[in-house]
């Protein structure tokens, strides 16, 4: 049986930040493959570079060197405009603090990424409602973020992330702002998206309990990716 090519292929990626005259290396010669349908957790202490790596994979930051290919696209060669278009169609984002737009209700927040598609108003609405049903928030569609609990807000954010049917979901500490019960609900939902809808998920987390839910855990330390401690081989 032939092994399918990885969805994400990272080769020799390095990234550093400049602070005044000082150059701080954040990622050093990262090599990583992520298969389609994988659920990968990136762990590591603060400042280890895991969020930076996630940002590079999601196309919201640029590496200093190396290459990142997602599907057939070399995202480092894309212009800012093309990269924005690629993000809108290929990546679903889940943030620690949900980052919903407070003046829009749940349905409108989920509808937001669809404004960049050619869908009609009616179609956008239908897609948003379906996504909210997937995250079990059909009864909260007209609620504003301030009227929802943290867990519910994160579910709206997940609905917003999946509504465009992206290639993969990237989540930065998705349970970091939630209590244990809500965190469990969110992780259950992410697992469901991974297993039932086949979504590739890359999650940055500090929480070992959250990381346990992933198929693969990779550990970053001082910008260097350590060896695999995976539950499911790639």
């Amino acid at each position: 049986m032939s092994v399918p090519p990885p969805l994400v292929k990272i080769r020799d990626v390095s990234k550093s930040y400049r602070r005044g005259s000082q150059i701080l290396p954040v990622l050093q010669h990262i090599v990583l493959d992520i298969a389609e349908g994988a659920f990968l957790a990136l762990m590591g202490p603060s400042g280890s570079g895991k969020t930076t790596l996630l940002n590079l994979i999601a196309g919201i930051d640029r590496a200093d060197s190396g290459s990142i290919t997602v599907g057939d696209v070399d995202i480092m060669s894309l212009s800012e405009t093309d990269l924005a278009a690629w993000r809108s169609s290929s990546i679903g984002f889940i943030f620690q603090f949900y980052n919903l737009i407070p003046v829009l209700n749940a349905r409108e927040n989920v509808e937001l990424p669809l404004l960049l598609t050619g869908l009609s108003r009616k179609e956008r609405r239908e897609h948003a409602e379906t996504a909210l049903q997937v995250v079990n928030l059909a009864d909260r569609m007209d609620h504003y973020p301030s009227e929802l609990s943290g867990g519910q807000q994160q579910r709206v954010a997940i609905a917003r992330a999946v509504v465009t049917d992206p290639l993969m979901l990237v989540a930065d500490e998705p349970t970091g702002d939630l209590d244990r019960a809500s965190a469990k609900d969110i992780l259950d939902l992410m697992c469901r998206l991974n297993t039932e809808l086949g979504k590739t998920i890359i999650m940055v987390t500090h929480d070992p309990r959250a990381a346990e839910r992933a198929h693969i855990i990779r550990d970053l330390d001082k910008g260097v990716l350590n060896d695999v401690s995976g539950q499911t081989p790639l």
Binding site: T52, N55, A58, I60, D61, E80, T81, A84, A85, W86, R87, S88, S89, F93, F95, Q96, F97, N99, I101, P102, V103, L104, E108, E111, L112, P113, L115, L116, R121, R160
Partner: protein, 385 residues
């Protein structure tokens, strides 16, 4: 629709701040509109002048008279169709504060040359046949409660004595810019009286109004008139009515320039206020704009949101300001009717209000939009967290 809703919701997210900014824009637009209307009122005489009328006066100064005998000479000049004449009378009604322009004119030719002064046939006939008659603009008539048939006494300043007139007609302007504050009576009445009381001042004329056949030949006709009186005892200056009126305006040009400057300063001040509001709003929402970028919205989408919000605020204020300008101009115009008899908000002023608001909205949003367009997503997200 979705984006329009987002624009309005964003604009009114901080209700008090936005309300105060909208109020500021409204007050600025109102002030700008009023000041522009003052400037327009200042130029109303120029605007109302006709290209087919020339004014001939003494070359030394308007205060020096011209001999009445010039009438016939001017009439014979090629290109002149009608000649009318008049004197500034400078009469006072009861008290000096009751100012309105009053002239002794030749009624028949004057009304021929000024078809914009509308009288009924009955009023016109009465005025033309009554040597002691006068015709008054309806603004002045309304102000002093004069009706047709009333007797009005003016105290002469240049021509001493108490002068009685019968109000034969109350004219209204054909155009909105026509001055309805003036008072006209028969030059013959003045001249006959002068013959009796001060003969040396009789047969003297302050200005001639010339109706010309072809406005394109105005300069030529004016030169011919002035040439006719060259080296005479009273040389003349003939110019278009517009140039003549501009001569009065330029005497007070400094005031007009000051008013215009103040109107622009008002706009610059409100520009700073709106720019501050926009800068604060956008700074508070930087995280949201970064999220928009993350979701794939381009820099120009975000610039559109910021400019749109600025336009919502400024155009709301502009609409309120324009609505307020009309009653304010009415009240101001009524109070200042003695000095600015033609005072109304012109469509041009409304266009300028809108243009100024668009300029304020655009400039106020420039820097915040530029900042948001150029913020890196990763950098922005770090700020959010």
């Amino acid at each position: 629709m979705f984006l329009a809703k987002l624009l309005f919701k964003n604009a009114f997210r901080h209700k008090l701040r936005t309300a105060l900014t909208v109020l500021g824009v409204a007050v600025a637009v109102l002030a700008f509109g009023l000041l522009r209307t003052v400037v327009s009122a200042w130029y109303s005489g120029v605007e109302a002048s006709s290209a087919s009328r020339l004014v001939t006066r003494n070359a030394i100064s308007l205060v020096f008279m011209l001999p009445a005998s010039y009438r016939e000479k001017i009439r014979q000049i090629e290109g002149v169709k009608t000649v009318s004449w008049g004197n500034w009378f400078g009469g006072i009604y009861i008290d000096e504060k009751n100012f309105f322009p009053n002239f002794a004119v030749d009624p028949k030719t004057y009304l021929e040359l000024y078809p914009e002064y509308l009288l009924s046939l009955e009023e016109k006939t009465a005025f033309l046949h009554d040597r002691k008659g006068c015709m008054v603009g309806r603004l002045t008539a309304r102000k002093y409660g004069w009706k047709q048939g009333d007797t009005v006494t003016l105290k002469g300043t240049i021509f001493p004595g108490n002068w009685e007139f019968v109000v034969d007609g109350i004219y209204r302007g054909r155009d909105r810019g026509t001055d309805e504050s003036q008072f006209f009576f028969h030059w013959e009445y003045l001249n006959e009286s002068m013959k009796k009381t001060a003969p040396e001042r009789a047969e003297q004329i302050g200005f001639f109004i010339l109706g010309i056949k072809n406005p394109d030949r105005a300069a030529e006709v004016a030169a011919a008139v002035d040439r006719s009186f060259k080296n005479s005892i009273s040389e003349t200056i003939t110019e278009t009515e517009k140039a003549f009126q501009m001569g009065f305006v330029s005497m007070t040009e400094a005031i007009v320039i000051a008013v215009q400057l103040v109107s622009f300063v008002v706009i610059i001040i409100i520009m700073a206020v709106v720019a501050n509001t926009m800068a604060m709003s956008v700074r508070e929402r930087t995280g949201e704009y970064v999220v928009f970028k993350t979701l794939g919205f381009g820099s120009y989408h975000l610039a559109g949101l910021i400019f749109g919000e600025s336009f919502v605020i400024c155009l709301t204020g502009c609409a309120v300001g324009i609505l307020g300008t009309f009653p304010a101009a009415k009240a101001f115009g009524d109070a200042m009717s003695t000095f600015l008899p033609v005072f109304f908000v012109s469509p041009r002023t409304v266009y300028l209000d809108v243009l100024a608001s668009v300029a304020v909205a655009t400039i106020a949003a420039l820097i915040p939009a530029f900042r948001v367009m150029h913020i890196g997503i990763a950098q922005g997200l770090r700020k959010v967290v």
